[in-house]
């Protein structure tokens, strides 16, 4: 099987990351004002690596992934910054040209597998569609490839299942079909937007393991979006923590867990259940809710909910700065695990600030 691609080849040089995102902004012009969903995000992603993007609902993760790809609504969207994919500038490209990359070189897996498959089209055709479109495969070749793809994502009896409709499969199986569709043309970059949100825990782990295996076998770069830091552990090389449309901390995965600097990251870690804890250990929740994306406060956007928050945080926005370990940056004036941070927390505890008290429930009165 050596089909001729009739889509453009991507020149992917070894000395430069596959994906370079510089100061990407994505704003929506709505009736309620300008919604700044992604507000100046920069990162690089090398070939064969996995980058996790973590944050609460509404932090801009999904919009970030769609914006990187250029898969945005047609109207009332403002997208600024630069996205380089190999030698292609994705920000300066029309949708018609992007279509040659979508599905062929960049693929996406969506949150809800059941609704992302067309209910009235047989799954076989949903998989072969992009093969026939991008790789100009014949009907027979495409069908054989689809069977092989389904087998590789762990679908039993793939020959018969090609003729089934999505409603005949469980949620987990639907996500396997979506994954098979996404990897069909051998993309270099895979964007997985909370691929396991709607699935139960065991199925969720299977799907994540499958994604990891495929990513390694096919030497893809992957952006794994999740609201759960636990999901990301051991499945990503680097982690970006997003809050209110911005990166607040970025580090190699092990460093992030060991040397957490940003109070928001710490809060996320505390809100995830951990096996090491005794059962029935109370989970922490982060007080308050994320700020309204159509009117962010001045200063640090997390300041109002932050146990370490000081007057300075509400006035001056902290820039991303270098931590001790290489590749670790964070945006905070009073970082966790530093003397300044500790002092800020103690000051807040002395003033009985609710966010600080909530952080240390044992000492709460």
């Amino acid at each position: 099987m050596s089909p001729k691609r009739h889509v453009r080849e991507i020149i992917d040089r070894e000395d430069r990351p596959l994906l370079q995102v510089e100061n990407l902004k994505t704003h929506f012009d709505t009736d309620h004002g300008l919604v700044r969903a992604v507000d100046g995000v920069s990162f690089n992603l090398a070939r064969g690596r996995t980058l996790a993007v973590v944050g609460e609902s509404g932090s801009g993760k999904t919009v970030l992934s769609r914006s990187v790809m250029g898969l945005l609504p047609h109207q009332r969207v403002i997208r600024e910054g630069r996205v380089h994919f190999g030698d292609v500038d994705l920000t300066g490209t029309t949708e018609r040209e992007l279509r040659d990359l979508w599905g062929a070189h960049i693929a996406m897996i969506f949150q809800d597998p059941v609704t992302s498959l067309n209910p009235v089209v047989k799954i076989g055709r949903q998989i072969t569609e992009s093969l026939r479109h991008h790789l100009a495969m014949g009907r027979k070749d495409a069908k054989e490839t689809a069977i092989a793809l389904l087998r590789s994502v762990g679908m039993p009896e793939p020959e018969q299942r090609l003729n089934w409709f999505p409603h005949q499969f469980s949620g987990g199986m639907c996500q396997r079909i979506v994954i098979a569709t996404a990897i069909a043309c051998g993309p270099k970059l895979l964007l997985a937007d909370e691929p396991t949100t709607g699935l139960d825990v065991t199925v969720s782990a299977q799907i994540l393991d499958l994604l990891n295996r495929l990513q390694q076998e096919r030497y893809m770069s992957m952006i794994l979006i999740s609201h759960d830091l636990g999901v990301v552990t051991g499945r990503s090389d680097d982690v970006i923590v997003m809050y209110a449309g911005k990166i607040v901390e970025k580090a190699p995965t092990t460093t992030l867990f060991r040397e957490t600097r940003m109070p928001y990251t710490e809060a996320l870690l505390r809100s995830a259940p951990r096996l090491a804890n005794a059962s029935h250990t109370r989970l922490h929740s982060i007080p308050g809710s994320p700020p309204d994306p159509s009117g962010y406060p001045t200063g640090c956007r997390f300041a109002q909910r932050c146990p370490y928050g000081q007057p300075r945080c509400r006035v001056e926005e902290p820039p991303l700065r270098q931590a001790d370990s290489p590749g670790h940056v964070f945006a905070c004036w009073y970082p966790v695990g530093t003397p300044e941070g500790l002092q800020a927390l103690e000051t807040n505890l002395a003033h009985n600030e609710s966010a600080a008290v909530a952080l240390v429930p044992g000492e709460a009165i």
Partner: protein
């Protein structure tokens, strides 16, 4: 299983329609015998009444009539006496063609217009097409027909005028479709508006679905996304309404036939009503009702073709 039940329901409806039709026509003032005899006098009326079972009780007459109907005998026209079956057989092709042709025109026009409107919802084209469809919805067939005839046969003689000879569809299809175009377009105009509105609304909703975003993410062209992914899931409301619309199409066909002087079921019916020819009115009503029911049963089956989730009996 489902199919058998649906067909049985359809048959029950046909039976009910037969009863209601017979009941109301038999309660109409004026006797058939009087129509046949005209001024000939009471002896004639008594004689004809005996032949036509008019002196028997209502239910006996109904079951006699139904029995004949089930054997395919629709009765005889009053004056001059002719088998109603052959009268209808000569007239129905025109009406059937008018309805089918108009629906083909309506679908061919409505689908692209609805798609384009939905794709740029609230854009210029959408607003223009909305205005245009509302305008056509507001104009009744008996205005549209003469208007089209005036413009396209008199002012611009592109089409043959009313009373043109209609050749059979099978012997001269080109000429037939040409002559029938204007009448069919007249009937289609109302349907175009209805289908365009419904399809546009459903299409706007479908285009918001996750599977459309996924189709976009596959790099498919807009045309492919619209026709392959968005069209079929958007047709359910339109199909349901199309089935219900068959009724008003038949009414519309009667008017169109009158305007364009076509000899279809409509002209048979209007002539029969004018002549107080009750057996013919009954027979045409039954034929039309059966056609309507058959159309709706067919549409129920179409759902299962279009939406695999409606199919049963396969594992879930």
């Amino acid at each position: 299983m489902v199919a058998a039940r649906r067909i049985l329901e359809g048959l029950a409806t046909v039976l009910l329609v037969c009863f209601v039709t017979f009941f109301f026509t038999s309660k109409m003032p004026g006797s058939e015998a009087a129509v046949i005899c005209g001024p000939a006098g009471t002896a004639c009326v008594r004689h004809e009444s005996a032949i036509l079972y008019l002196n028997h009780p209502f239910f006996e007459r109904f079951f006699h009539w139904l029995g004949e109907l089930l054997q395919g005998n629709l009765g005889v026209t009053l004056a001059p006496p002719e088998p109603i079956g052959s009268v209808i057989a000569g007239a129905y092709p025109i009406t059937l063609e008018l309805i089918i042709y108009s629906q083909v025109i309506a679908v061919v026009v409505a689908i692209p217009v609805a798609m384009w409107s939905a794709l740029r919802a609230n854009g210029l084209f959408d607003r223009l097409s909305t205005t245009a469809t509302f305008a056509t919805l507001a104009i009744p067939v008996f205005i549209v027909g003469p208007l089209l005839a005036l413009v396209f046969t008199v002012k611009l003689p592109w089409f043959p005028g009313p009373a043109a000879n209609v050749p059979s569809l099978w012997s001269d299809p080109g000429q037939n479709l040409y002559v029938m175009f204007l009448p069919s377009l007249t009937l289609a105009i109302g349907s175009i508006a209805v289908y365009q509105r419904l399809l546009r609304a459903d299409m706007v909703a479908t285009l918001e679905e996750d599977f459309i975003v996924m189709a976009r993410a596959k790099g498919l062209s807009t045309a492919r996304i619209l026709f392959r992914h968005a069209l079929r899931p958007s047709t359910f409301t339109t199909m349901t309404v199309a089935g219900i619309q068959v009724g008003s199409l038949i009414t519309g066909a009667i008017i169109v036939e009158t305007v364009f002087a076509l000899h279809g079921l409509g002209s048979v019916l209007t002539a029969a009503v004018a002549a107080k020819d009750l057996p013919t009115v009954q027979a045409v009503t039954i034929v039309v009702a059966v056609f309507y029911i058959v159309c709706n049963v067919l549409i129920d089956f179409l759902y299962t073709v279009i939406d695999p989730r409606v199919r049963r009996g396969r594992r879930a």
